[in-house]
């Protein structure tokens, strides 16, 4: 798809940042399982976190398409940093922008839009994530305060030094789910230790516990009882964002494997001169390309205000599979080096599988697509 001047320039700026600032250092953070807060703050200065947020709160008021361009360029180099942005923006800050009160937006959005603070969105529980309408975490109103009890797991951005708030889904009555904002440091909120993850190791993922955690009644985000509906609306955009991220990973594998195939020699010639390797690269390019078309198509529909739920599911399903397939093939092209953690494609290999799980598993995407076909 042809990009206009501003889109081209923004993608170029993010690409330059990713290549020059993230690429040289991210491997070490990844190995240590450390969250690169300084890098994320610097990235924030490019306006990446504020792309879709309203201008009056420090954002740029632009669409999902522009955000997708940025996520793709970041993920082309590293998925951990890309998902840090995605998680803070698409479910967290976007939820505040769409459903929050004026007071809530003023209070939280400017720092989130600038990438100075991060937001976490906590839905998944130890008892289940796919069945998102089922929530064991409970919140009851008491003396003008919500009292929250329960546990969440696998929450991105929950425990970074930059985390400004965690928006959690909770049962606020029988069959009634609502979203409530909780700031770090609130008594009764306990943020667990970082998980030992297979991939996305430079992103922050933790369990979160609420034990009689009290927050003001005014911390309710959106209408009481509308939490699940709000979440489903946000999730459509989130899936497009994940599809853009997955496209970046798939493209990053093409970049790395192509360079390697031209340079690495076996039997006296570059391995890329073997048709089996060249064809593998052609297939990889095809997957990255079609993934890009699916996410951009869904984003254009979203930005035009058209229904795009099924398109988002198509994009997320296709691009996440492309990321897995390309990571596998890129690793193959790198041979033994591909199995070494210091090789970027090894990171892609470790990072790709979660793309078929998070933001709705691919089984869920197929359900959404099938349903849109009247099945």
């Amino acid at each position: 798809m042809r990009l206009d001047l501003e889109q081209t320039e923004f993608a170029a700026a993010v690409r330059a940042f990713a290549q020059e600032q993230i690429r040289p250092v991210i491997g070490d953070y990844y190995e240590r399982g450390e969250f690169p807060a300084d890098l994320v703050r610097e990235l924030g200065k490019l306006g990446v976190f504020g792309v879709t947020l309203p201008e009056e709160y420090g954002g740029s008021g632009m669409g999902l398409f522009m955000l997708g361009l940025a996520l793709e360029e970041i993920a082309r180099v590293d998925a951990s940093v890309a998902v840090t942005v995605e998680a803070s923006v698409t479910l967290g800050a976007e939820g505040l922008a769409r459903y929050g009160t004026e007071e809530q937006r003023r209070r939280w959005l400017p720092r989130l839009a600038a990438g100075e603070g991060l937001c976490a969105f906590a839905l998944t529980e130890p008892g289940g994530g796919t069945d998102a309408g089922h929530t064991d975490t409970k919140a009851r109103l008491e003396d003008g305060e919500w009292v929250i009890d329960g546990a969440k797991c696998f929450i991105t951005n929950a425990g970074t030094a930059m985390t400004d708030l965690i928006v959690a889904t909770a049962q606020t009555g029988p069959g009634e789910i609502s979203c409530i904002a909780v700031e770090p440091g609130t008594p009764g909120l306990e943020i667990g230790p970082e998980y030992s993850k297979v991939g996305w190791r430079a992103s922050d993922t933790r369990p979160v516990y609420f034990d009689g955690c009290r927050v003001p009644e005014a911390n309710l985000i959106g209408q009481r009882g509308r939490g699940f509906v709000q979440f489903l609306e946000l999730l459509d955009s989130g899936r497009v964002a994940i599809a853009a991220l997955a496209t970046g990973s798939a493209q990053g594998c093409v970049d790395e494997a192509l360079a390697h195939a031209k340079e690495r020699e076996a039997f006296g010639r570059p391995i890329g001169e073997n048709q089996s390797i060249a064809f593998m690269l052609a297939d990889m390019k095809l997957r990255a390309h079609t993934s890009r078309l699916t996410w951009q198509d869904a984003a254009l529909k979203a930005d035009a205000g058209e229904p795009f739920g099924a398109d988002a599911a198509l994009a997320k399903l296709h691009a996440s599979q492309a990321a897995v397939d390309n990571a596998r093939d890129a690793t193959q092209i790198f041979g033994g080096y591909g199995f070494m953690n210091e090789t970027p494609v090894a990171r892609a290999w470790r990072d790709c599988k979660i793309l078929e799980i998070g933001e709705g598993t691919n089984e869920v995407q197929r359900m959404v697509i099938a349903r849109s076909m009247g099945l």
């Binding site: 923004f10 306006g47 740029s60």
Partner: protein, 258 residues
């Protein structure tokens, strides 16, 4: 404080670069970017503006595609730009280039001009000095640090093993190395704002510069031939068995270094 930054679009120095059949820098087939050192000049100007107020104007001499570079400087935060574009400029040597730029500087109000220490295509590193001579202001070159109170300017002029401190009164011309700062990336807001910033495009006649004085006809030198740098050859290793010093001296003498 009003600052003019000199910016040149050049072929990406990270990629292979070519000369065309007239032995000029091939700008059409190249991936053109902002001169790598010019980014530091822009950043230095923006930092001074942030500290002292005033306006940053970008001045560039280049073909039409140089607008991309101009837009990048505006997206980084420069306020406006003057772009000199004229087909008669192609083939200009350094002296002619400085004549055009000096004429353009004459149309702008400035307390300070900042440039990269050299352009990364031709790498002559002479433009700041030539412009200083033409405009009658001091040149403080090769800075790794700039300080100013708005009336005087002090720079640390970088040397191989240290630095000199140079001071002059404003107006002045400063050139900078890449040790001076870390250039910012354009932000989305900056990119959107750049659309609305004024860019004036002028031709030689607007500046009162005679086309015959620039370009190939006005050049004081002519490039007769150019060749690729020969590949490195293996050096000669002298094993010191008492005669090492003599062997070194003989080598240097044979190569006319001493």
């Amino acid at each position: 404080m009003n600052i003019v930054v000199l910016v040149k679009q050049v072929p990406d120095s990270g990629l292979a670069r070519q000369l065309d059949d007239q032995l000029r820098v091939d700008r059409n087939g190249a991936n053109n970017v902002m001169g790598e050192l010019d980014e530091y000049a822009v950043e230095a100007a923006l930092q001074l503006k942030e500290a002292h107020g005033g306006e940053v104007t970008v001045l560039t001499l280049g073909p039409s595609q140089a607008t991309e570079t101009v837009r990048k400087t505006l997206a980084m935060g420069a306020d406006k730009a003057l772009h000199i574009e004229d087909d008669a400029v192609g083939g200009s040597d350094a002296l002619a280039t400085s004549k055009i730029l000096a004429a353009a500087l004459g149309r702008l109000e400035w307390d300070l001009v900042i440039a990269g220490a050299e352009s990364t295509d031709s790498g002559m590193g002479i433009m700041p000095q030539m412009l200083a001579a033409r405009t009658g202001v001091p040149a403080l070159t090769g800075a790794r640090k700039i300080d100013t109170d708005g009336t005087a300017i002090t720079v640390e002029h970088q040397r191989a093993n240290g630095y000199d401190v140079l001071t002059a009164s404003l107006p002045a011309i400063v050139s900078v190395w890449d040790t001076i700062n870390t250039p910012r990336y354009p932000s989305l807001k900056g990119i959107m704002a750049a659309k609305r910033k004024p860019v004036e495009t002028l031709a030689l006649s607007d500046l009162g510069v005679d086309a015959a004085e620039v370009g190939p006809s006005g050049a004081n030198n002519e490039v007769l031939s150019a060749a690729e740098r020969p590949p490195r050859t293996a050096g000669q290793i002298v094993t010191d068995e008492g005669q090492g010093g003599t062997a070194l001296a003989e080598f240097l003498a044979a190569e006319k270094f001493i």
